[in-house]
Amino acid sequence: MDIERIIRRRRRNDVLFALTGATITAAVLLVLGALAFTLVREGVSRLDLDFLRSYPSRRAERAGLLPAWVGSLLVMLVTGLTGIPLGIAAGVYLEEYTRKGWFASIIELNITNLAGVPSIVYGLMALGLFVYRFHLGPSVIAAGLTLALLVLPIVIVATRETLKSIPQNMREAAYALGATRWQVVRHHLLPYSAGGISTGVIIAMSRAIGETAPLIAIGAVAFVAFLPPVPYSADAFAVAREWAGSEQLSVVEAAVYPGVAWLGTSFTVVPIQMFNWISRPGDDFRANVAAAGIVLIVATIGLNAVAILIRHRMRRRIKW
């Protein structure tokens, strides 16, 4: 009767929704698959060890990605080493230490807003602050710090969300046993939330690796035909002597400068190299762009795979 009609209608809606969802998912996957297919078809012929080992060139078949991927890697290293600890620390502080109130609300609102600010704005800020004010120049460290600012809000939000999901009674149990706040954070909250935080961190890093606009703003260049100096190599000592302004290095200078020389060099990154190639006259470089695209996508998929793996392992260990 009436009830049966209602049940039938609701079942129909249920199927309808499932179908809509499946269609949209299929459409998205199809676009993604087509994109990946085109990239692979165009680029796979160029993708070999020589492509990863060669410097850029005016001849498409000789042009390689070496300075670009090394640059991307080093910039991400600086970003990771600065952005992640700062982001996690800020997240823990805001979630576990601050009193809730209007001030905390304002900070929270601003951080969430920052996560949505277009990346070019970070680039302009970094140009004024890092490149000119701190005299870092268009260097690896300036780029790394710029992207660190970019990922900071994402890491903070991820950290706070994960900490929020830990049941309050875990904290209370620890306090009841006489643990200090730091001990609670160190021995309980951080280990429990490692999965969620690392997911957030890796999503943030995957975003940073594809960023172009802020790096162009701080003056990343299109053509670099050398690698940053390996720490404590002859090249690094040459840079150190320039920084020191003399042939003779003091003990501290000799210990520190050659180790961080790579931070001060010019660089390019994979997306900028791709842009340089695609804006050339003629179609010779299209295969190179596709091949570089494959490298970038594989790197991103790799990062995401690590995130999934970590999350999976952490989930298995922790049950509330």
Binding site: A222, W243, Y257
Partner: protein, 333 residues
């Protein structure tokens, strides 16, 4: 604790890096025009190979205007330029104590292109180009039959480079009589491939950019012959060398910071290498090399470290290679 130690080490490292990363004098920094970029890139590639990577070079592509801004502040050593330095840029450089050498390296033929289906605009006069592109044309000259009555009654789709481009500066000076004097209602892009695609995709399109972008896409675009009173001339190496492709053939330059040249042997080596090899390499990347006599004149100017520009802060359009050579030798005394 281990975590804290790591953090401390990172922060300490940053502080040190921040205090020392200022000087990057071992790198030769080049920036500027996208038109000159292929030539300089070829030279840099060969130079890096010849010097076995001992000298480090970077090339940016900020456009001629963007390159001169950095050059005048002393941030880069060499500026790629598709037009001579402007009065404002000269003042800025003087204010910052930047002296420079102006070295012409090759010629380019600025090319006006239309769609391959365009069967009417085979030849255009400079006056007709001016009628289309001058600032007053904005909003009023919109159809082909306003240029010549027998041409189609269809809207002209205009494509051209953006305002930071030396190509834009040169074209407006050559055609409209004043640098940067242009209508604004056209599709502008600093990326010449966008312009190529635009003109390729629209039957009633008209655009302009450097010859190398035309020659790389010659099958997909049609070049317009330019009539400067002596009949239509299509852009080509021969026409540029003969001085008949007027007024759209233009010299391309590198500007070198004089202080860098004097104080840093690697900069001097690089520029020497540039002048020695640019003839061959420019031809390879589809530009017109200067005649040998012109390269000799440029080299002698370089040897004498003769600073300044031979242009009065603006492009002189319609210069033939002969004019440039005379100019070199005259000021070379």
């Amino acid at each position: 604790m281990a975590l804290m130690n790591k953090c401390a080490a990172v922060i300490g490292g940053l502080g040190i890096a921040a205090s020392v990363a200022m000087g990057q004098t071992s790198t030769i920094r080049i920036d500027g025009s996208s038109t000159v970029y292929p030539v300089t890139e070829a030279v840099v590639e060969e130079f890096s190979a010849a010097s076995r990577g001992k000298v480090k070079l970077t090339i940016g592509v900020s456009g001629t205007g963007g390159g001169f801004k950095k050059f005048a502040r002393g941030e880069i050593d060499i500026s790629n330029a598709s037009r001579p330095i402007s009065t404002g840029e000269m003042e800025e450089a003087a204010k910052n104590g930047v002296e420079y050498l102006e070295l012409p390296v090759c010629f380019d033929a600025l090319t006006v292109v239309v769609n391959t289906q365009n069967d009417w605009a085979k030849t255009m006069t400079v006056a007709e180009l001016k009628k289309i592109w001058e600032p007053g044309a904005q909003g009023t000259i919109t159809k082909w039959n306003q240029i010549r009555p027998e041409w189609p009654n269809e809207k002209i789709d205009l494509y051209g480079p953006g305002t930071d481009s030396g190509t834009f500066d040169y074209f407006t000076e050559a055609v409209c009589g004043k640098a940067k004097a242009s209508r604004g209602d056209y599709a502008a892009s600093e990326d010449d491939n966008v312009l190529v695609q635009g003109v390729e995709g629209s039957k009633y399109a008209l655009g302009y950019f450097g010859f190398s972008y035309y020659s790389a896409h010659a099958k997909r675009l049609t070049a317009v012959a330019i009539d400067n009173g002596k009949g239509g001339i299509l852009p080509s190496n021969e026409a540029v060398i003969a001085g008949t492709y007027n007024p759209l053939s233009r010299p391309l330059f590198i500007y070198v910071n004089k202080k860098a040249l004097q104080e840093r042997p690697e900069v001097k080596q690089f520029v020497e290498f540039y002048l020695e090899n640019v003839k061959e390499l420019a031809a390879e990347v589809k530009y017109t090399p200067l005649p040998d006599s012109a390269y000799e004149a440029v080299k002698s100017r370089f040897a004498k470290l003769q600073a300044g520009t031979v242009f009065g802060g603006h492009s002189e359009t319609g210069l033939t290679i002969d004019d440039i050579v005379k100019r070199e030798t005259k000021t070379g005394k």
